[in-house]
Amino acid sequence: MLSLLELVIGYLVCGVVGLFALAILWLILKGEINLDLLISEKTGEASMSRFQLLIFTFVIGLSFFLIVVANSGLHAGGTAQGGALPNVPGGVLALLGISASSYTVSKAIQANMPAKPGAENPTAPPNPPAPNQLAPTGQR
């Protein structure tokens, strides 16, 4: 009885996560989740600190997934360890830490940059309007 309940809950969780994943991907495809400014600053210019953080996040995330799968013994060649989460060594944390700290310091430098008149980038795309500014008053 307990194992049947586990199975049912497992399929339910899988279904919900799958639906969320499909919804996110569908909204990205339709353009409703807008990634245009994913690595951009407020000024409209791309940011190297954001880009390198994006790369490391994908790499560590994919590695974590591959290691969990290998340890679960699901596929041939895997070493079954009961599906335990892997230990994350200090070196990996240091890599992510350097990347994230660099992003934070970069933001701090940018926030403290001396503002000069006329220093704003004239080619920068304007910030998207807030949802309540999209329709004229009284038409919502």
């Binding site: 390198q52 790369i55 699901l74 890599l95 430098i109």
Partner: protein, 109 residues
């Protein structure tokens, strides 16, 4: 239970790959803005080509590929990252941040 584990495996793999493909494709087609990725901005508002950003990208890509290759080679555990990598990558970030701070606070066009 094995079928459930297989389902979860393919589901997460599909989500990760689709997200990575979506971001990668939009980067290559220019839909995700990469304008000025290799350019810095001085305190007076002028732009300049920034070699420190280029070296940061090269070190980051190198470390990321090496890390992923190590995981694919032995996916039973996270690879041990040698100290030299951490010093190299840390140094690369210090150069990038130093260049950015220098241009922002003391840079002149």
């Amino acid at each position: 239970m094995r079928a459930l584990a297989e389902l979860a495996y393919w589901e997460v793999l599909f989500l990760l790959m689709a997200l990575a493909a979506s971001v990668g494709l939009q980067l290559f087609t220019g839909q995700i803005n990469t304008h000025g990725l290799f350019h810095g901005r001085r305190g007076d508002g002028s732009q300049y080509f920034s070699p420190e950003r280029v070296q940061l990208l090269l070190f980051t890509m190198g470390a990321a590929f090496q890390f992923l290759a190590s995981v694919l080679h032995d996916p039973s555990k996270f690879p041990v990252v040698p100290d030299s990598w951490i010093y190299l990558l840390g140094g690369s970030h210090v150069v990038f941040l130093g260049g950015k701070a220098g241009a922002a606070f003391w840079g002149k066009s």
